[in-house]
Amino acid sequence: MVEMEEAKKEVIRLRDVSKYYPMGDSVVKALNHLEFKVFAGEFVAIMGPSGSGKSTAMNLVGSLDMPTHGTIYLDDGDISELSESDLAQIRGRKIGFIFQSFNLIPNLTVKENVMLPMMFQGASIEDRTRRAEELLKLVELGDRMNHYPGEISGGQMQRVAIARSLANDPEVILADEPTGNLDTKTGAIVMEFLEKLNRQGKTVIMVTHDPDLAEKHADVIYWLKDGELEKVTKRVGKRFVDVTKKKKKEAKSNGEK
């Protein structure tokens, strides 16, 4: 058990990361001194109300954006050292994105949408087709493969997005409010798929504003407020305990500076 804990691999790490946006003459501090660490196989939630900086955090965690200060490590590599294109390739291989508004390409069929990430990695058309069909069967959409996104329901679209996120067999699934545009029932189905993926060993990072959803599914929750990390809680049995410890102190001292 101890050995297993030690063998846990750090997948994504944000070290003292800040993101500032210039806004006219002033600067908006969207995110301040964030420390964030995800180990392989974890289900992590980034929790916060709107304006808390969680979207900024998700863009940084997903290596879509570069921090103003601090360092982001993806698989122990500093992403700021990569070219834009290399980063895109690594992102495409290691992270599968699921968005609140599904973000499927409207003029491609469901199957083609799932094939797209593999195309960017240079997979052959045969491999892409085979894998896309497999994945769509996995999310129970085997009979909708040749439909266009406009022809299926929101829940189905999100399942297509899940299939697409798995296309390159990434280590991490990054889901941004995956149930935000869905009703409770279809949202629950989508969450079930994410849970299932997590049980099968995928690391899942979910961004949400809903504390109940976070506490229902996540192992670790990063609570953000006003661009600051408020606390980190961890599941122990059925309860969550605050494990912020010294990080909180650091944040405080930094804040006082």
Partner: protein, 405 residues
Amino acid sequence: MKLDYLILALKNLRHRGIRSWLTLLGIFIGVTAVVSLMSLGAGLQAAVGAQFGVSSTQALTIQAGGLNSFGAPGSGVVNPLTRGDAIEIEKLSTVEFATPRNIETIKIEFNDKVVFGNALSINDRKEQEMYETMDLEATQGRMLQSGDFGKVIIGSSLADGGKNGFDEDIVPGKTILVQDKKFKVIGVLKKMGSFTIDGIVFMYDDDLNGLMNYGDDVDIIVVKVKDKDLMDKAVEEISKLLRERRGVKVGEEDFEISTPESMLETVNSILGGVQAFIIIIASISILVGAIGIVNTMTTSVLERRKEIGIMKAIGAKNSQVFMQFFFVSGMLGLMGGLVGVVLGTLIGVIGVMGINSFLGAELSPAIDFVLIGGTLIGSFVIGAVAGIVPAMNAAKQNPVEALRG
């Protein structure tokens, strides 16, 4: 891998509105103009050439009047050529034969109707020379032969009741009135594609002179040179001879010698002018089309901003985003080119068919597959080049901002 982008591009094009297709109008009009011009080209040249009577390659035509003459050959000339000129020219070493010819405007009566036309003189015992230089042949009846005085052969349009104005076919054996004098038609010529020759009446010089009284004056002297290579020398000799006979200096010639080359040059320079004009219009049209593509692609990059963001998020490199837009705009160009090639070829084919039925020629449209291939590649390249800047803009989008849409 490139094929994937092509497929993506095609998928994207399939979902485009009519707006995108309209921007192709410029490309397709331009390409249509160029392709139809090219496929018509040979036909046009033959058609115009036929009007100028460009036929035998060893024949020279001499006319009096020099550079300032206007009107029908030989008309209004102060110092006409004479029969004597022809006889002297024929004595030159480079000349095989020289045939004097007169063209007169005549009144023809048939089926109680009157039509004005042209008559051309044939010289007794020089018939074969004339038939040879003018490439004449009878399709009905026979040609005039020595001693056929009082008889005529006529051009194909003049024989055709639908075209000649008499409302009745003139067939060999019929009699027509020329300048109120009866002539028996013994032959109809094959269609030549020239308005003049297809509407003409051929008769012996003595007959025509009897009607028109031109005496020794000659409108045209047709000269056949012994060998093609002697053409330049023959022109030189004839010029020298005629200058002496007519008492004019070098550079002040009041006569004109046309070679087949010079006629072809005239034809080609006329066609060249027309072609240059069409090509200029086509170029402007294609340029406008290319600007249209730039515009469509720029709009498309804005419209597909979110898609660009999605693609980048799921792992698309800048070059891969670039390629997609690049191929789409290339395909847009290609589509324009394709429509243009099809339409242009169609116009060429119909045009040549028109020329054929009009002139009785048997031309075939010049469908050049290398040209068509080149045009298609060219239109793809134009489209692709027009799409470079918009595609670069697409590739440069920041994924986070693009995802926001």
